[in-house]
C-alpha cells in the first residue's frame, strides 16, 4: 500500500523523524488557514501517489494565505496529467507546509532488498533528483547499507554509509538519529519502501524530511489498523484496474488486446500470454487469481474480464497445486450464470482436483483444452488473430 506524502509524514513524525510543520487541506479555505498558521509563506503540494508532481503543476510556493487559497482552488477537484502514471489523476487534497530554508538536499531511501535479503539504506549527498539518475551519473555519491535485522542500525554502519554517500563526517551526529528513527519507523510499520527525497539540511543545520514516499507491506496491514485506513487511496488511472481494485482482485493488469486471460499464478498467466501471442492473439489482460482461490473470486474475475467490450474470447488456464479444480469450475459456472456470455471461453484445468472440476464443467458451452498450448491455439482460432 502506497501512502501519500502527508500520510507518510504523519507516520514519520510518530517516530520522531523531523518533518516540516504543516497540515492537509481539503478545501481552498482550509489551505488559506493552514498558510496563515504558518505565517503566510507556504508550500502547497497536491497529494497524489504519482511522482512528478512539480512537472504536473501540483506544487507551488505561495507568499500569502490568499495565494495559497487561489492555488489550492486551481487544483482541488481538478485532474492533472502525470507523465509517470501516463494519465490524469484527480487532486482531492493538498498539503500546506512551511517553506524550509534549504542549505543542501540529500537522499535517503530504505527498501527491502531481494539480493541481500535485508532492509537496505541508500544514502546520497545528491538529493532532490531522481536517485536512479544519480546512480548513473555519480555512482560514487551513493552509499548502500544492508541492515542486519538482528543488530539494527549501528553507529559504525552510519559512519560507513555516510562516507560512501558523500556526507561530511561532521554531519554524522545529525544523520545518525535521523537514520535510526527512520529505520525504526520502517521496521515497526512493516514498510517495503521509505524514500526521503530530499532530506533537507536547513541553513541552520537541521535535518528535515522534505518529502516522504512510503509503501506498506499489504500482508502486514492487519497489524496496522491505523495505517489500513489509508488503503482506500488508489493510483490506478485505468478504469478496469480501478474496477478490479473495487472487486478485491489484486493481480489484474489491463493490456488492451482481445483475449481475456485468467489463470492461477503470475508465472502461468504470463506463460499463457506468451502462448496466446505466439498463436497470433493479443492478451486483453493479465489476471492471476492467486493460490487457493475460492469460487467467488473466480466468478468476480470472469465478470471483470467480460466487462471489457474488446474481449472477444476468454482463456482460463488453471494448473492447481493449492488451487482446486472443483472450486474454479464452480466459479466459472457462477460467472457464466451471472452475466450474459457472448464470447467463447476455453478452459484448461489440470492439477489438484482437476478431474472433479472437469466433471462439473461437463455439458456446458465451455470449451475444454488439455494443455496450455492447445488452449491458446483454440481461443485464437475461435476469435481470429488480430
Amino acid at each position: 500500500m502506497k501512502m501519500q506524502e502527508y500520510q507518510g509524514k504523519e507516520l514519520l513524525a510518530k517516530y520522531g523523524v523531523p518533518v516540516p510543520k504543516g497540515q492537509v487541506a481539503d478545501t481552498p479555505e482550509e489551505a488559506a488557514e493552514a498558510a496563515r498558521a504558518l505565517g503566510g509563506v507556504a508550500v502547497v503540494k497536491a497529494q497524489v501517489l504519482a511522482g512528478g508532481r512539480g512537472k504536473a503543476g501540483g506544487v507551488k510556493v505561495t507568499k500569502t494565505p490568499e495565494d495559497a487559497q487561489a492555488f489550492a482552488a486551481s487544483i482541488l477537484g481538478k485532474e492533472l496529467y502525470f507523465e509517470q502514471a501516463k494519465g490524469n489523476l484527480q487532486i482531492d487534497r493538498v498539503l500546506v507546509e512551511e517553506a524550509l530554508s534549504i542549505a543542501k538536499e540529500y537522499y535517503i531511501g530504505i527498501t527491502t532488498d531481494r539480493g541481500s535479503q535485508r532492509n537496505v539504506f541508500i544514502v546520497s549527498s545528491q538529493g532532490g533528483m531522481d536517485i536512479e539518475e544519480v546512480a548513473h551519473s555519480h555512482p560514487d555519491a551513493i552509499g548502500r547499507l544492508p541492515v542486519d535485522p538482528f543488530l539494527g542500525v549501528r553507529d559504525f554502519d552510519i559512519r560507513r554509509v555516510a562516507q560512501q554517500g558523500g556526507i561530511p563526517a561532521a554531519e554524522i551526529k545529525d544523520l545518525a538519529p535521523f537514520l535510526k528513527k527512520l529505520y525504526q519507523a520502517y521496521v515497526d510499520s512493516d514498510a517495503t519502501l521509505a524514500e526521503i527525497n530530499p532530506l533537507v539540511v536547513t541553513t541552520d543545520g537541521k535535518f528535515i524530511a522534505g518529502d516522504a514516499k512510503i509503501s506498506i507491506d499489504d500482508s502486514a496491514l492487519y497489524r496496522h489498523p491505523e495505517l489500513a485506513v489509508y488503503a482506500e487511496t488508489s493510483e490506478e488511472t485505468d478504469e478496469y484496474e480501478k474496477e478490479a481494485h473495487r472487486r478485491g482482485i489484486n493481480n489484474y493488469v489491463h493490456l488492451g488486446g482481445n483475449i481475456g486471460i485468467i489463470g492461477n499464478g503470475a508465472g502461468l498467466v504470463m506463460g499463457t500470454m506468451d502462448e496466446v501471442k505466439r498463436a497470433g492473439g493479443e492478451p486483453a489482460d493479465f489476471l492471476d487469481i492467486g493460490g487457493g482461490a475460492k469460487a467467488e473470486l473466480v466468478k468476480n474475475s470472469l465478470e471483470l474480464v467480460l466487462s471489457d467490450p474488446n474481449v472477444k474470447g476468454v482463456i482460463f488456464n488453471i494448473f492447481g497445486g493449492i488451487t482446486r479444480g472443483d472450486e474454479v469450475a464452480k466459479g466459472i459456472i457462477a460467472g457464466t450464470e451471472s452475466v450474459k456470455v457472448t464470447v467463447p471461453i476455453v478452459v484448461r484445468l489440470a492439477g489438484t482436483n482437476a478431474a472433479e472440476g472437469l466433471a462439473i464443467l461437463k455439458g456446458t458451452d465451455l470449451i475444454p483444452a488439455e494443455t496450455m498450448q492447445e488452449a491458446a491455439q483454440k481461443i485464437v482460432s475461435l476469435v481470429g488473430s488480430d
Partner: protein
C-alpha cells in the same frame, strides 16, 4: 538419488490440523512420503485421522520421531515463527508454502535460518518440492510427473507444473522439481538449488524457470557458467509490457534490470538455450541431453 526429498525423508507438518494442512499432508502420504509427525500447539498427544502423531512443538516431534524435514502450512501470521521454530529445532529442510507472510518477518526468519548454518529453507509462497516417484513436500500436483533425469527449478509454481507436464507428455522424465517461490525474501534462490542438481548423479539436465523482475536469473547465469550439466531456461513474462506489474512482488519490470530480455541475454551468454514458450522446453532439453550423450 535425486535432491532434497526422497523416500527416506521424514516430514513433520506444522499446521497438520488445518484445512490445507490436512488435505495436502494426505496427498503427500498418498504419494508415498513419510509424514511422521504433526505439530499443533496444545494438540500434543493426539493423532490425525490418518494416524500421524501430533506434538506441541517441532523440537519434541524431532526428538520423538526423527523428523528431518518440516512442511509449514500454517497461516501467514504464524508462518515465520514456525520456520524459526523448525530451524531452532535443527530441521534440515523446511518447506513453507504460506503466502502473504509479512516481509519483515521473513527478513528475520531467513536471517535466523542462515545463522543456523545447517538448515535449508525453501519458500515461502512456493509450491514445494517433488521427487518423481519418491515423495513430495508441499502442494505440487504429482499426476504429471514421471521418474527420469531432468531437474526443474522454478520461481513460479504453476509454470513449474506446466513444464513438468510438457516434459512428461514429450516422454522426458524428471528427478526433482523445486519451486523456490515468488516472494521478495526467499530461503533458497536458483543458486542455492542448482549446485544440488549439479551434484546429483541422477540428474542429467536442468530446466530453470524464471520470470521477469529481480536479478535472480542473471545471478544464476554466473553460477551456470561453472556447471558441467546442460541447463535450459524459460522466462515467464516475455510478452509482458514493460512498466506493468504482473502479480508477484518480484515481477516488476523496470528498465533493463529485471526485464525478460535481460534475463534471456544473460542466460544465452553462458550457453543456456531459452525457450520461447513452455511448450518448447522439451525439445530444447532433448537437444541439450543429446549434446552430452544422453538420449531421452
Amino acid at each position: 538419488m535425486s535432491i532434497l526429498v526422497d523416500e527416506n525423508t521424514k516430514v513433520v507438518v506444522s499446521g497438520i490440523t488445518g484445512g490445507e494442512g490436512a488435505f495436502h499432508s494426505a496427498l503427500m502420504q498418498d504419494y508415498g512420503t513419510q509424514v511422521v509427525a504433526g505439530v499443533k500447539p496444545g494438540g500434543g498427544g493426539t493423532v490425525t485421522e490418518r494416524g500421524v502423531p501430533i506434538f506441541d512443538t517441532v523440537a519434541e516431534a524431532v526428538e520423538k520421531t526423527g523428523a528431518n524435514a518440516q512442511f509449514v502450512v500454517v497461516g501467514p501470521r504464524f508462518a515465520a515463527d514456525s520456520i524459526i521454530e523448525g530451524a531452532a529445532a535443527g530441521i534440515d529442510l523446511i518447506v513453507c508454502i504460506t503466502e502473504f507472510i509479512p516481509v519483515q518477518e521473513m527478513v528475520t526468519a531467513v536471517r535466523f535460518v542462515k545463522s543456523q548454518g545447517t538448515t535449508r529453507l525453501v519458500g515461502p509462497n512456493c509450491p514445494g518440492i517433488l521427487t518423481a516417484g519418491k515423495g513430495k513436500i508441499g502442494i505440487i500436483p504429482p499426476s504429471s510427473f514421471t521418474p527420469g533425469s531432468v531437474g526443474v527449478v522454478s520461481r513460479s509454481g504453476t509454470l513449474c507444473y506446466e513444464i513438468v507436464d510438457a516434459l512428461t507428455r514429450a516422454g522426458i522424465g524428471q528427478t526433482t522439481a523445486v519451486g523456490i517461490g515468488g516472494d521478495p525474501i526467499l530461503g533458497s534462490t536458483f543458486v542455492d538449488i542448482l549446485p544440488l542438481f549439479e551434484a546429483d548423479p541422477e540428474t542429467k539436465a536442468v530446466v530453470l524457470v524464471g520470470e521477469i523482475g529481480g536479478a535472480d536469473e542473471e545471478i544464476a547465469a554466473e553460477y551456470i557458467k561453472t556447471m558441467t550439466k546442460p541447463v535450459v531456461g524459460f522466462i515467464g513474462g516475455r510478452s509482458a509490457p514493460p512498466g506493468k506489474r504482473m502479480g508477484h512482488a518480484g515481477a516488476i519490470v523496470s528498465g533493463t534490470s529485471g526485464s525478460a530480455q535481460g534475463k534471456v541475454d544473460a542466460l544465452n551468454a553462458v550457453g543456456v538455450a531459452v525457450a520461447e514458450t513452455s511448450s518448447d522446453v522439451p525439445g530444447l532439453i532433448r537437444q541439450a541431453l543429446a549434446r552430452v550423450g544422453v538420449t531421452v
